[in-house]
């Protein structure tokens, strides 16, 4: 029971990182991409290859995973991001499957016995789950802060403008294509990092685990929490993983069919769209200028 609870926390962390990336693509810039499983796959493989074949440490493979998936994201993004809404969705779905198919063809059995991650001499053993929970959630926090800052910077605002109205954005001097690509590459890189943590925890990679279902789960995470809202996305990841491991957690694996969770994810997408398209927490409303206003106003009063 505690075991599964810890597992939920670990995977919630991994999915939260992935969802932060998906949120950058879908929530900030409004592009419905369905190939996050692909970036996750690339990140995992990059880490596995770096650690096992080139003997690099986990900490070096982390940026490497991000860079590799970022580059692939760029190569994918440059041609496909011209497509609008529905077409982009189908094209990225195809790309996600291509990545998985290529991985399956090149490396059907996967890679196992990947060296463990280490930090100041402390070795992250898979059985020591709390260490992983702390490690992964520390990175969730880091990426949360980095991407919140992005959203509330000029760059993030330009991405939101692209989401709201591309024509208006262009009329405001925003290079729409550039921001789409930047957002997509950042999202892809973060997806890769999530893959890196997954590998560090399971110490194996196998192409069978990067199905379309993963992409939908990530999308579901973002939609459930609230598109464009960093906190909400993390909350979404916890809920989704809780649903995912609910049968194991309650010991009802024999009663609840294996498909139940997927059906629930589907249901979540429909129900959220119909009843609460802004997600559980809704949009992140950042009030520029007003955060410090009370203090500012007081000073002024004192001055007068």
């Amino acid at each position: 029971m505690l075991n599964f609870f810890q597992l939920i926390l670990i995977y919630a962390g991994v999915y939260a990182i992935m969802a932060i990336g998906q949120n950058c693509i879908t929530g900030y810039t409004g592009m419905l991409s369905l190939c996050h499983a692909g970036f996750f796959c690339i990140g995992s493989y990059a880490t596995a290859i770096m650690c096992k074949i080139f003997g690099l440490s986990f900490w070096l493979s982390l940026p490497a995973a991000a860079i590799v998936s970022g580059i692939i994201g760029f190569l994918i993004g440059v041609p496909t991001l011209r497509l609008k809404g529905d077409y982009l969705c189908i094209a990225t779905l195809g790309l996600g499957e291509i990545i998985r198919n290529v991985a399956t063809n090149l490396n059907p059995v996967g890679i196992s016995q990947i060296p463990r991650a280490e930090l100041f001499g402390y070795v992250f053993m898979s059985r020591n789950k709390w260490a992983f929970i702390i490690l992964i959630w520390a990175f969730v926090l880091i990426f949360y802060l980095l991407f919140q800052r992005l959203l509330h910077s000029r760059i993030g605002r330009a991405m939101t403008a692209v989401r709201e109205d591309e024509v208006a954005a262009a009329s405001n001097g925003i290079d729409v294509t550039k921001y789409k690509i930047v957002s997509f590459v950042l999202g892809a890189a973060v997806g890769g990092i999530a893959g890196c943590f997954q590998t560090a925890y399971t110490l194996t990679v196998s192409p069978a685990s990067y199905t379309f279902m993963v992409s939908v789960m990530v999308l579901c995470t973002v939609v459930l929490g609230g598109m464009g809202n960093g906190k909400a996305v993390i909350l979404g990841a916890v809920i989704i993983q809780f649903i995912s491991y609910f049968p194991q957690l309650t010991g009802l694996t024999n009663v609840i069919p294996a498909q139940a969770k997927q059906m629930i994810f589907g249901l979540i997408l429909v129900v959220m769209m119909v009843w609460r398209p802004q997600g559980i927490l809704g949009r992140d409303r950042f009030r520029y200028g007003s955060a410090r206003r009370p203090l500012f106003a007081k000073k002024k009063e004192a001055g007068v």
């Binding site: 496909t80 809404g85 939609v223 059906m263 997408l269 429909v270």
Partner: protein
């Protein structure tokens, strides 16, 4: 066998395959024409159609020897499956898409992905993930015409598809409701002002599209067997067929389907694509078509009005 007859054979196979794609593509195209969104769940409706058809057929024909009776059973199963899917299609529209008609563009798309997930996993839950064979309702002895082999099931596929398309063309072009449908796809607000019940037209579009998908699913079942995720790849290919023909264009979907079928049947052996890479190549072609010819061969170039 000479190269010529070999390629003739591929083309015959391609046309059969393409006829199925066309039937399914019609559903995508009709919905897009009216609602301007891609019904992601369409592929899974096809799967449901195949399952319902199979169940009804098995219940009626049982272990009967192929003959007139089984052929009759097949058509009854097809009608039952069409009716079931028509209702299913209308139900999906009513529950998952109608409330989102004025929402932003991503909302119905996400909802459709959700529906697709519910259907395919629901089917996996009820029927299990193993694939089932759809028995031929007749002796499937091939007929040889000058070196080219045609099986009765291929003939059935082509006859049924052509009949369905003729019926659809008649409906769309000659009936009042068909006219209303065309009007709605041209200009929704104006049609509403002209007294057309747009909700009913949309419902009907989903019903017809889903019924055609049911037929497509049953015909595809002969070649591809029946399993819960059969709709994904077939649906995607049919979608590409709709894009090739110009999405939103009914004749285009018919032509696009046949074109894609031939392309697939001829292209795969011509380029010596290994089996493991087939889906990869199919996806790559899909993306290339979306990028290079998003308006299709019969589509009109729609640009966003500033």
């Amino acid at each position: 066998m000479s190269t010529f007859t070999l390629y003739m054979q591929y083309i015959v196979n391609g046309i059969t395959l393409g006829a199925i794609y066309s039937l399914i593509a019609l559903g995508y195209t009709m919905v897009y024409g009216i609602l301007k969104f891609i019904n992601f769940a369409h592929g899974d409706v096809l799967m449901v159609g195949a399952f319902v058809g199979l169940l009804v057929y098995e219940a009626l024909a049982g272990a009967a020897e192929p003959g007139m009776w089984t052929i009759f059973c097949f058509f009854i199963a097809m009608l039952a499956s069409m009716a079931f899917c028509a209702v299913l299609g209308m139900f999906i529209e009513r529950v998952a898409y109608k409330p989102l008609r004025n929402a932003n563009r991503l909302a119905p798309l996400l909802s459709a992905i959700g529906v697709s997930f519910i259907l395919s996993n629901g089917a996996a839950w009820i029927f299990g993930t193993t694939s089932r064979r759809f028995p031929y309702p007749f002796e499937n002895d091939p007929i040889h015409i000058g070196g080219v082999t045609i099986t009765p099931h291929q003939i059935l596929v082509i006859i049924v598809s052509v009949a369905m398309m003729v019926l659809l063309a008649f409906f769309v072009n000659k009936t009042r409701m068909g006219k209303a449908m065309r009007a709605t796809s041209l200009d929704q607000p104006t049609s509403m002002l002209m007294g057309i019940n747009v909700d009913r037209v949309i419902s009907l579009t989903f019903a017809i599209g889903s019924a055609l998908a049911a037929v497509g699913g049953m015909l595809a079942a002969f070649d591809f067997r029946v399993y819960p995720s059969m709709g994904t790849m077939t649906g995607l290919k049919a979608f590409v067929a709709a894009v090739i023909g110009g999405i939103g264009n009914i004749q285009g979907a018919m032509i696009g389907g046949v074109l894609l079928g031939i392309l697939e049947a001829v292209g795969a052996p011509l380029l010596h694509i290994p089996n493991g890479m087939r889906d990869t190549v199919a996806f790559a072609v899909l993306i290339i078509i979306l990028l290079v010819k998003p308006d299709g061969i019969l589509g009109k170039n729609e640009r966003e009005k500033v």
